[in-house]
């Protein structure tokens, strides 16, 4: 059974129902009472008694009607089928009440005869009994039509709201999934090359091989377990970047040189996890790895106007190869993540204004 079919039984909606039910019938009772004693000058104790009796019956019938439409799942019906069902049900429920009413004191409330007798006695108007009864039945049917219309309108409104809520929950879940996907994933190219380096180092330099394994384990752990936190401090991220760069420099040897310029005041700023790592991987992939003699990779950070400006510079290969000609999935994903996390308040640009250096520049608001 899905949500749309589940009968409403939550205590809160029960309470709302009874408030509506009693208020509705209360208003009808009071209205008729007021009309009866002011316009028609009827004797109020009898009027009140009869009104209370018959409207209580009306309330019971409407309560039973609610049960009936719920059992028969009327709310799942298309509007046209629902409309004529409402009409029929209202007359069916209205008929006995209408007939009974005609033979009580209350008939005067509906019967035009009583008005005319009081306000235009010269007319001598008398309504035939079947017409009088029909009028009473129509009158009661109108009450039930109104009742059912309000009932189904309330249900439609509530369903609309819960659909909207579900929609926004869905949107949020999608956003989360998207974020998880966009987060830099384990780069298999790096992983297998690193393993190959380790294999080589085991013979060349066992101590360095041990160090490489430790760093590789740390990098993997960070990559695999990071999805739990969206944000980390810059210094946390830099630690893992340092491990990564150390592994890459074992691979590239003297082709890779690294410089850091990160002042202490910037180290505590929160940044999206794996984002700097993505930029550094990009700098290696499209810069250092494309150049036979390698070059300098520079990471620098400043905080200006409550904004962290983080830059990763790498030398540019003279003729962009196919891999570096377009911006690449890495930067594109990083930009999408920033948009999801910070909206318009963060930005990432690839500055290619200098002929020999490419700079990835990241701007992130500093949270107080």
């Amino acid at each position: 059974m899905n949500d749309a079919e589940r009968p409403i039984t939550q205590p809160k909606s029960q309470l709302v129902y009874w408030i509506f039910q009693l208020t509705g019938w209360g208003v009808i009772t009071f209205g008729r009472f007021a009309g009866g004693i002011t316009v028609l000058d009827l004797a109020w104790p009898r009027l009140l008694l009869e009104l209370l009796l018959i409207n209580t019956v009306g309330l019971v019938i409407s309560h039973w009607l609610r049960d009936f439409v719920r059992r028969n799942r009327w709310r799942a019906l298309p509007i046209r089928k629902l409309a004529w069902r409402i009409l029929v049900a209202s007359f069916v429920c209205g008929a006995p009440l209408g007939i009974v009413t005609q033979f009580t004191y209350l008939s005067a409330l509906v019967d035009p005869e009583s008005f005319l007798r009081q306000y235009a006695p010269a007319l001598q108007f008398q309504l035939a009994l079947p017409f009088a009864i029909a009028l009473e039945i129509v009158n009661w049917a109108a009450v039930f039509i109104a009742w059912l219309t309000i009932y189904f309108a309330a249900i439609a409104l509530r369903e609309h709201r819960s659909a909207q809520l579900k929609q926004s929950e869905l949107a949020r879940a999608l956003q989360l999934a998207e974020l998880r996907l966009l987060k830099s994933q384990l780069n298999p190219h790096f992983l297998f090359n690193a393993l190959n380096t380790v294999r080589s180092l085991i013979a060349d330099n066992p101590a360095r091989a041990q160090d490489a394994v430790t760093r590789l384990a740390r990098t993997l752990r960070y990559t695999l377990t990071s999805p739990q936190d969206e944000l980390v401090t810059l210094s946390q991220e830099l630690e893992i970047v340092a491990d990564y760069l150390e592994l890459e420099s074992m691979r590239f040897e003297d082709r890779l040189r690294v410089e850091h310029h990160v002042p202490d005041y910037a180290a505590g700023v929160q940044i999206p996890v794996m984002l700097l790592q993505t930029l550094v991987e990009n700098a290696i992939k499209h810069g250092i790895a494309e150049l036979p003699s390698g070059g300098l990779l520079r990471i620098s950070a400043v905080v200006r106007n409550v904004t962290l400006i983080l830059e990763v510079e790498n030398p540019r290969p003279p003729a962009p190869t196919r891999a570096s000609a377009h911006e690449g999935v890495g930067l594109h994903n990083a930009r999408d993540r920033l948009r999801l996390l910070f909206g318009e308040r963060a930005s990432l640009e690839l500055d290619l204004s200098r002929p020999d250096v490419a700079t990835a520049r990241l701007r992130i608001p500093v949270n107080p």
Partner: protein
């Protein structure tokens, strides 16, 4: 067998050298860290086998092969680009995934050895195999399997199996290095592989027409007809 290791990562080169010490018949005559260096060394060292990385600075392993006139046997070594290698339409090729497993290396080398034995010794000038890249596809093309070479401006269209790759060389330059006992200049635009001739007929215009197996009919120019008759002893 003279071999060269081409990889931009020094530890990877050292590792492969170490692995190859188990195969004394493979002699590493040189190594290179990028394709410019590699192209130069291949010209002087004439290796028979290349261990070739795919991603390298300044151009990929494929770029290197398209630069080479004559392509030696190649074993690709790659950390993660095997899909790039597998995308090839080649059988005469092997690839090793880094870190390289010694057993896989032995397997690849035994394949090289048997391929080497199948090659008949030829004068040095004769091309054995060329590497063709046409669009996003690459082929190692053994020339003896090419039935027809057609000049298209500065390019040559190779009719090879079901493929028609375009080679970025002029027909005249290529002709110099084709095996003369196998390839014959039929007319100004075409060179045919004599092994593929099915029938030769005299056309209505008085010219000879050679019907190639799985291929088109090629007209022999009047100038070449006499030479052709001698060659085919008809």
């Amino acid at each position: 067998m003279k071999a060269m290791v081409i990889d931009d990562e020094p530890p990877a080169r050292r590792e492969l050298r170490r692995l190859l010490t188990g195969f004394p018949w493979v002699e590493i005559v040189g190594e290179a860290g990028n394709i410019a260096q590699a192209a130069e060394l291949i010209g002087t060292l004439n290796p028979e086998l290349l261990f070739l990385d795919i991603q390298m600075p300044g151009g990929s392993g494929f770029d290197l092969l398209t630069r080479l006139e004559d392509v030696p046997q190649v074993i690709f070594t790659t950390a993660y680009d095997e899909h790039a290698v597998r995308a090839f339409k080649v059988d005469a090729l092997d690839y090793l995934l880094k870190p390289i497993e010694p057993a896989r290396l032995a397997e690849a080398l035994s394949r090289v050895k048997s391929a080497q034995a199948a090659r008949t010794p030829k004068p040095d000038a004769v091309l054995e195999q060329i590497f063709v890249r046409d669009g996003s596809r690459c082929w190692f093309v053994p020339l003896r399997e090419v039935r027809l070479l057609t000049s298209e401006g500065n390019y040559v269209r190779l009719s090879w199996g079901k493929s028609q790759p375009l080679l970025g060389r002029a027909l005249a330059a290529l002709e110099q290095r084709l095996d003369p006992s196998r390839f014959f200049r039929a007319n100004r635009r075409q060179i045919i592989n004599l092994d593929f001739i099915e029938t030769v007929e005299l056309g209505v215009n008085g010219r000879l027409h050679a019907q190639l197996r799985d291929g088109p009919e090629v007209e022999i120019s009047r100038r070449q007809a006499r030479l052709f008759k001698t060659k085919m002893s008809i």
